[in-house]
Symmetry: C2
Amino acid sequence: MLDPLFKPRAVALVGASTKELSIGNVIIRNLQHYGYTGPIYPVNAKAPEVCGLKAYASLAEIPGEVDLAHIIIPSAFVPQAIEECGQKGVKAVIINSAGFSEMGEEGARLQREFLANAHKYGIRVFGPNCQGIINSDPALKAYCNFTFTFPKPGSISVVALSGGVGALIMQALDDLDIGQRLYASNGNACDVSIAEIIAYYGEDAGTKAIILYTEGFDKPREFLEVARKVSATKPILAMKAGRTAQGAKAASSHTGSLAGVDIATELIFEKVGVLPFHDEGEMVRAAMAFSSQPIPKGNRVGIITNTGGPAVIATDVLVDFGIEVPKLSDAEIARLRATQFPEAALENPVDVVATAGGPQFRAALDVMLDSEQIDCIYINFVTAPFTDTDAVAHEIVAVSRQRRKPLVCNFMTNLKLERFQKTMAILKTGEVPFYANPGDAARALGALVRYGQIQQREIGRAQIFAGVDRQGAEKIIAQVRQAGRTVLSATEVYEIFAAYGIAVAPWQVVKNADQAQKAAAEIGFPVVVKVDCAAIDHKSDMGGVAINLQSKAAVQSAVEEMQQRLGSQGELSFLVQKFLPGGRELIIGASAERGLGHLVMFGLGGIYVEVLKDVVFKIAPVTEVEADEMLAGIKTARLLDGVRGETGIDKEAVIAVIQRVSQLLGDLPMIAEMDLNPIMAFADGAFAVDGRIRLEEQKPC
Amino acid sequence: MLDPLFKPRAVALVGASTKELSIGNVIIRNLQHYGYTGPIYPVNAKAPEVCGLKAYASLAEIPGEVDLAHIIIPSAFVPQAIEECGQKGVKAVIINSAGFSEMGEEGARLQREFLANAHKYGIRVFGPNCQGIINSDPALKAYCNFTFTFPKPGSISVVALSGGVGALIMQALDDLDIGQRLYASNGNACDVSIAEIIAYYGEDAGTKAIILYTEGFDKPREFLEVARKVSATKPILAMKAGRTAQGAKAASSHTGSLAGVDIATELIFEKVGVLPFHDEGEMVRAAMAFSSQPIPKGNRVGIITNTGGPAVIATDVLVDFGIEVPKLSDAEIARLRATQFPEAALENPVDVVATAGGPQFRAALDVMLDSEQIDCIYINFVTAPFTDTDAVAHEIVAVSRQRRKPLVCNFMTNLKLERFQKTMAILKTGEVPFYANPGDAARALGALVRYGQIQQREIGRAQIFAGVDRQGAEKIIAQVRQAGRTVLSATEVYEIFAAYGIAVAPWQVVKNADQAQKAAAEIGFPVVVKVDCAAIDHKSDMGGVAINLQSKAAVQSAVEEMQQRLGSQGELSFLVQKFLPGGRELIIGASAERGLGHLVMFGLGGIYVEVLKDVVFKIAPVTEVEADEMLAGIKTARLLDGVRGETGIDKEAVIAVIQRVSQLLGDLPMIAEMDLNPIMAFADGAFAVDGRIRLEEQKPC
């Protein structure tokens, strides 16, 4: 439990300072300014008081109990300070000081040292090299942080790896007048992790929605499990920066971050239902909508506008989000006609025209609320100087308060004019999410709709196929390990595929041309002959593949030619395999991701993967729903249905292969990389015709 | 010249009103509030005065000359009012009233009527159904508009089809404290067009940059010609809404707009060097950077930050813009090491750390200014409570004022604190473009860089190929016209291609199997036989194409089979053509765009165009540079270079074909649609193997 951190009954500051511009002074003043309700104990060996508070020469001298201590002293003294915290019975520390793992080996040593002390006493460590926490609960008002924004109480909680971005988000929410609940930015995060904080927010009754900023995860699986649970009940809005190689480089250069260019984080978000953002401004503006509006049940919007162009812009953006703008029914249009000015446009968007007042807006809003075709409402409200704008605002608030359908408002006005400030105050007090331009308002509504879809998406559980020979596969791998290899031979690969019920084109391994001819005759022509030799990695480029061999003679000459050309590479075997022409070439791949398990990839083979990079990834285990999404998710998905008169492929079969691959990966975590490339898919069935498995290097004991 | 409109020496208001919430009152108060320096003449038959000004019963009674009159009376009376304007010698009118072409035939009739009166007297008409204009020139202060934002003088001029978006832009610029010069929103635009306004802004010495919002153009060619001239000297930042089908529908439903889903507008922007935006907020924030910063000479950014995460976010966004973040040289890093705190990160991004003050920021800025690897500067400036933030702001202003390299600043602060308000005021007074989050700042810098690239792009002039037989082609078309057809036969299509030097696979047209065999022998096997009959449009689907015929016998049976199957469709001819296997299938297409000329399309044929829609468009005439950009612009461009060991195609030949097609279209404007589909491209040469030309319907005389 992180209560001592987020709900400290008393706070001490080891390194409290009398210097106004120092962190050890700023935090005390922040606690005072915010109105912290517990005692504050500055620890300072020299000064008798700090910021008007009695200072103590050491923690030991503090008369009361201390839940939480800030540590704001040079890194070299931190291990000893933690020891003293333990002796005092401090339950949690926020180490603001820098100079630890982010600064090389000496810093890392100090970090290990203070952590050992913390563990000894059961102290939870937040940081080091961090900002701290804020709890806006009026009963506590804990501002254990050196930032400069003082959020009003509310229901949105923020957690950010980067203090800079955390402060930015907190400030942006405050600028939008959105209340906040808990805040945490944990820097190097050597003990208390983001996942733990998310779990804590999940259990905090006052937190209704969570904003997360990260640059990757140290322990992605831990985050995945926590986020899965929390996002089932509370929306998590998240942004992962370091999307680009240069961005990831910038991330890795700053405080203790472990980022690399990963796609895993976004895949985690997708898997567990975290709502992803690529723009911090958009995320914060979306939070405004989440803080007061219900989640839409569908993706159909009703647009009400008192000006033309902004409705066009909004429509473009909403459509980009996959939102529909349905035509209203004749009955609905008739209802509008009876209540709107003659110049009004009664289709959706409904243009109530610039002269519309409260009654016109309300009548249009009521039609949208009652319409079974409409799930959410977008409003353009320009404060035309010739209307009663307050009346319009009151009607919007009244409809918003019903919470029947979510709405957002693009409120276009001049806040230098007192008259319109009043109108804005009505919207604000009424908790209407409003924005200064149509694009921003539309994107906030788009986020609500997207979250509604995420909530309704049920990926199910991964299927466990019966009849799988796990022990057989493990035995093969044990043999490979024993031989000191990491790359499996073709035989081994195909046997493992077979053990998991993955159809492989019929094959035999032979040693020479005679055996090859015999194997080909048994398998049936046409066949492919591939060289099989651990030393030859790219057999196709080396001339080690001969396809579409129609006769024994052709098989013989193919084998002999390869023997001649490649014999010097090592001992050669040959794989004789049924040639399957005319199918659609697919690829399924897998790679191990540190701390997460495996990513599974699907795409069309050949130029589609090589040139178009048209592939889609999921985190294993992959469920049937997810496998189906993979097939639908490539840009060239239409090719799977057949174009130009071809029949489509057997999608069920491919979906089953993906799931069997997923089960295989779950059973055999030592696989570093695996390819089924290509898989040939036909109208009936799908067959792996080549494959590759590489194991992780074994760690020396 | 639009001087009477934008620089009126006296303004009359026909329809001046004593009612506070009416347009005829609001405009007078706006003129007064803004401080219009000329006389204002309210025209009102009943009231002796309006807004404290003497009112006149009619225009005729006004003692002085009137440059500009607002018309704010019911539409039925407008033609008579324009007549009276003419008699009074009024030079321009702004018709704010609605009820014209946007309201059906009766309105359109009134519009024709008042326009006839206006032409009789040489009156320029702005609107109808419009807002009006603003001129912020302190010597004039003309606010001929009913909006509610009062821009401070500046150098950015705005023109917007939609009044709602125009007002939004004006307000957003004002919220950012950016001065504005001229403003115009011309509603139905029955006379003064957006192109004319852009031309006027181009000549206006006080206008340094232009912001344009549109939903399409009535006369795109007029705009293209004007924008080409103006954008050569002044940046035009533009947004075209109605990108989506639903957005275009919303556009066409509002005031007098002529929008449809067009790609032509964005192509015009590209062709003439207008900087396009898809987000109104982003456009306005970019304008802030344009209003004070020089245009960067390249795409290499130096990033200075005093906080980690926001630099990661900024880097991601900058990289999305194609901006590079080069490593600094050893000498530059050494210079930084000498001036920065020990914890600073000296790579690019340079993290001066949170404790950095003015000297550290300035030293880092100076390194960036001096570096030959850096073209522009991005700054993250969070107002750490423990630093002299004013000193930092002063240094940023000093560097910005040098105008050596453009810079933008992400300024993260809490403006509720007086201390930081002061810091902000320093940036603002110093005309530093600053933003509230890293994404916004990075996108503003991205716009500057992109504009720099646009400025440097020189598309050249369209090549005129010699030896083209224009008269021959015109003669063919005249014959088609004479025959009452719009679709050309294969012979006609190929002859026109030949007339323009477009290589066509050798072909002959024959009537029967005997002739076909003879033709095939002359052309050389293998050949293709295609049915050629005006009644058969999709000959491939109808079984009217036989490919790869290797012998006379094959040709004979193909022809006879087609005769049997398709003979009932009409008189059949047969096209015998050289079969060219193994090339890369391409498509070049063209279509006439109302009022603009032709769009030329290029893509890979087959599934690439059908499934991937991977095509690129340009407006004819297409220059060599543009044709080259078309080849590079498709997503599958790499296929043109050859993959998997293939040789690439003869790009020069394809580029030449595109240019010849462009010349053909320029000479033959009556072509409605044309296809070269496919063109087979080889390592040496490219040959059209099928084509289609359709002419525009002839208008009845």
